[in-house]
Symmetry: C2
Subunit: 237 residues, 2 copies
Amino acid sequence: MGVFLSAHTFAARPGPHSADDNLLNASEERALSQIGVLQTYPHAGMPIFREGREAHYVYLVQSGIVRISREGASGSRQVLGFRWAGDLTGLAPGGLYLNSADTLTAVTLYRFSIARLRKLLLREPQIQMHFLVKTADALAAAQRHILWLGQQDVVRRLASLLYEFSQSNSCYDATEKTLLLPVARGDIADFLGTSPESVARAFRKLEQKNLIARLSPRRMMVSNLRQLRQFAFSGDI
Amino acid sequence: MGVFLSAHTFAARPGPHSADDNLLNASEERALSQIGVLQTYPHAGMPIFREGREAHYVYLVQSGIVRISREGASGSRQVLGFRWAGDLTGLAPGGLYLNSADTLTAVTLYRFSIARLRKLLLREPQIQMHFLVKTADALAAAQRHILWLGQQDVVRRLASLLYEFSQSNSCYDATEKTLLLPVARGDIADFLGTSPESVARAFRKLEQKNLIARLSPRRMMVSNLRQLRQFAFSGDI
DNA sequence: CGCGTCTTTGACATGTATCAAAGGTGGTGG
DNA sequence: CCACCACCTTTGATACATGTCAAAGACGCG
C-alpha cells in the first residue's frame, strides 16, 4: 500500500519487494546516515530485538531478509511478516517492542536511536514522509495477510506466500525460474497460521496441480508465475 | 501500537479506543480544519468510499464508528477493522482505494484533499508525526488481528473482539456493565474470518462459560471484563 | 560418511463450513 | 398501539479441512 502521496516522490516501490529501487535517495541517505549506525548480522537466525524489551532503536533494513514474529498466548508463535531492503522495523509503543525480529539471511541494517530519529523527522519533513509511506506499506501488507488468513484454505495461502516471495529477486531466479525460500517449514506454518504438517501437504497439492516442481525442501521450479498468482487470488485451476 | 515517539507528546491514546482523549490538540485542529471539510453521515450503513475507486480524499473520524472491509477473491468479504474517533482512513496506494469504508453508526469525519494534506504535512512536521503515529497504531491493530486469526479458535477470537469493543465507551456502559455491539453477526463473522453460524455457536459457548449474558442479539451483560480478557488472551477458564 | 534436524507421510480426532429450517428482533404500516 | 413482515439469528445434521500424535524419510552440515 503506497500511501496517499505520489509514490515516485519518495521512490516507494510500485510492487512489493522490488528491492533494487526503493532504497533511500542520496539526500535522505546522507541525513539518515548522520544519525544511524550501519549494523551487520552475518548469519541467518540471529536476533535483532525481542518483544517486551525496552525499545531504544528503530531499524531500516539495508540488505537481507528479517522475520517479524510474536509469541502467542500458549507459547505458540505467529510470524507477522518479513522485512526486506528499504523496510522499517522496530516501531514500538510505550517504549517496549511489540514483536521480535530475527535474521533469515545475512542482514545489514541501519540502527537509529529513537530520540535522535524523532528530532530528525521533525526537522526533515520529507524524510518523515518517507517513513510514513513505509509504515503505510507495512499496514497494507498486514491487511493482505489478514485477507489470506481469513478467507482461503491452506493451499491458497501457501500459493500467495510463494507468489510474494517470487516477487523478490533475492529469492526468485527469473532465468532459471527457480524459487529459493529463505524460511523453514515451521516459519511458513507460523506465518500462514497453520502447522508444518499442513504446509507439507499443501506443497504436495501445489505440485500435483503442476504449479510448482520441488527440487529440495527449499528450492522449487515455478515456471508459470501468472498461473500461481491466478490460483492464489482468483482460486481457479 | 503507539509508535516510537513518546505517546503523550501527541496525545496518542494509551489503550485502544479511549475515544475521549486522542482527538487533535487545539493547534493541530486549527491547522487541519483550514484544509479539511467536516462531513456528516447521519445513518449506519452509508458508504464513505469504495475499494478500487480513485482516491481523492483521506478521512479522519470525528465521531461514530466506521467499518473497513475488502472484497475477497470469490466475492467473499473480509472486515479488516473498525475506525473510531481520532482514527485515520482512506490511505491509498497509486491513487486507488484498497478498501471500502462504511458507517456502522451515525458518523462525522473530516475529509482532506490528498494534495492539500500532503502539503500541510510537509509544512507542519508535528501534524505529520500525528499521522505517522495513527498509521503505526493501525498497523499494530492489524497485527493483533493477524494473531487472532492465526492462532485461536473461533470462541477465543470472538472473546477478543468483544473485549476490544468493551474498551470503547461508545459501546460499553460501565455502570450497567452492558455491551451494545455496533455490528451484525455477518460483520463479526467477516471480521473473525468465519461464518455467522459459527459466531452464533461461539456466543452460546461464551454464555455457557458465564463470560457474557445475552439480552438481545446485540446487547449483552459483561460483568467481569478481566475474566473475558483472561479467556481471550491466556486461554484459561 | 554419520548424525541431528527438518520434512514428509499416515491415522485419527476435532473444529468449522455448509446446507436447511426454525426461531427471534426490530421496524413499518395499518 | 398493535400486528405483520422482512431480515437477522440460532439451531441441527452432515461433510470436510485441518490439527495433533507418531514415525519414517530426506536433507545438509560437520
